[in-house]
């Protein structure tokens, strides 16, 4: 017998496709945090990020049969979410949602003053990210905030390293003004 926590992603996908819907919650537990992290940095609002993550998981469930590599279902779900985030940032409805402080879910350091300063920097960076194209923002967030390598991002987002470097470079150029303000 394989315990739930020991099941690999591929086994979970197989179980879900064999009508064991409840097994899908294991994928939600495994990847909910990572997906939320990315969505939060992409859209800025924790409420919108939560909605997009939920939408990504439901879409993933509906399309699970099209997941070609069940052992990499996490990356597959990430791509679904990344596309939802980009669609959202292009959508007119985003203008109706005020940017909320992304600091509210973090700031667990021992120094409240330092936490507040970091939170302010984060909020200002996120406000600046709003002015980037969705592709530039996605590349910048994955590279510099989520700390992935260009090779990892390229494999995940099905694009080239050269294209990613150019997007990140342009994003950094756009953010240099902010950098001088914060210096």
């Amino acid at each position: 017998m394989v315990l739930a926590a020991e099941r690999t992603d591929a086994q979970v996908v197989r179980d879900v496709l064999a009508e064991d819907r409840d097994a899908y919650r294991l994928l939600v537990r495994r990847y909910g945090g990572v997906l939320h992290h990315h969505a939060l940095h992409m859209v800025g609002s924790s409420d919108v990020a939560a909605d997009l993550v939920q939408q990504a998981f439901v879409t993933g469930y509906r399309r699970l049969r099209s997941c070609r590599h069940p052992d990499r279902v996490g990356a597959w779900l990430f791509r679904i979410l990344a596309n939802l985030c980009k669609d959202y940032t292009r959508s007119p409805r985003r203008r109706d949602v005020p940017l909320q402080s992304v600091a509210e879910i973090r700031g667990r350091g021992s120094d409240p003053g330092e936490d507040a300063a970091r939170a302010e920097v984060r909020d200002r960076v996120h406000a600046a990210l709003e002015h980037l194209t969705p592709e530039q923002r996605e590349a910048f967030v994955l590279k510099h905030i989520e700390g992935l390598s260009y090779e990892e991002i390229a494999a995940m987002m099905d694009t080239s390293v050269a294209a990613l470097k150019m997007r990140v470079h342009r994003a950094r150029e756009s953010l240099r003004g902010l950098l001088e303000e914060l210096a």
Binding site: A50, V53, F57, N83, D87, V121, R122, E146, L179, L182
Partner: protein, 208 residues
């Protein structure tokens, strides 16, 4: 931004390689990025996410019995047969085919064997103005969705030819890498078991 700083920020050069003039900006970037990033231990799923996802999934219709039956029939599976059993089966089939032909005086020539491995080029077409990319995926490519269609004249009509083996195939179009849509012009459709319809395509070998 000079190339040295760019390489440093891309993780391709150490801090020590930076000229003195670029070090202040590099340190400023580090401070800002450190404030933005957070450790893995701080990453949490949204509150109540699991419950909401599972509740929404529970509202989706279950896959119908015919859909499961079709999938069971179409799913490739390994069959283990002993050499003896396989030999007997082959002999039985050969006898069923050959004996009636031999006893008939006007027996017609045996039909030629189907061209195993033959493919047919099928042209897919989708009107999708505004799409950034369109691809097609189906059971012929394990729903990979990597067969891209093209719209060279940018009139919103995406086309592409794909080699597919003869048989009954289910497929959908993939728009912008994430949105699966059903072919609105398909001749047949089949429930995918998740509340959507797959287009169904019958590919036959052209007769000579």
């Amino acid at each position: 931004m000079n190339d040295d700083l760019r390489r440093y920020l891309d993780g391709e050069a150490p801090f020590e390689s930076l000229p003195e003039s670029a070090r202040a900006e590099a340190e400023a970037w580090e401070r800002v990025l450190a404030a933005c990033s957070m450790g893995q231990s701080e990453i949490e799923a949204p509150t109540g996410l699991e419950g909401r996802v599972m509740a929404e999934i529970a509202t989706l219709p279950e896959r119908s019995v015919p859909a499961r039956l079709v999938e069971w029939l179409l799913r490739p599976r390994a069959v283990h047969v002993s050499p003896l059993t396989a030999g007997l089966a082959a002999a039985t089939i050969a006898a069923l085919i050959l004996v009636p032909a031999m006893v008939r005086e006007d027996a017609m020539p045996l039909p030629t064997q189907p061209d195993v491995g033959a493919v047919v080029y099928v042209e897919f077409r989708l009107e999708a103005p505004g799409a950034r990319s369109v691809a097609v995926g189906g059971d012929f490519d394990e729903w990979d969705g990597s067969h891209s269609l093209v719209d060279p004249d940018e009139d919103g009509v995406w086309t592409g030819r794909i080699a597919i083996e003869p048989g009954l195939h289910r497929y959908m179009f993939l728009i912008d890498g994430s949105n699966w849509v059903t072919d609105p012009t398909a001749e047949r459709y089949a429930d995918d078991g998740f509340g959507n319809r797959n287009a169904v395509l019958a590919v036959t070998t052209p007769t000579a």
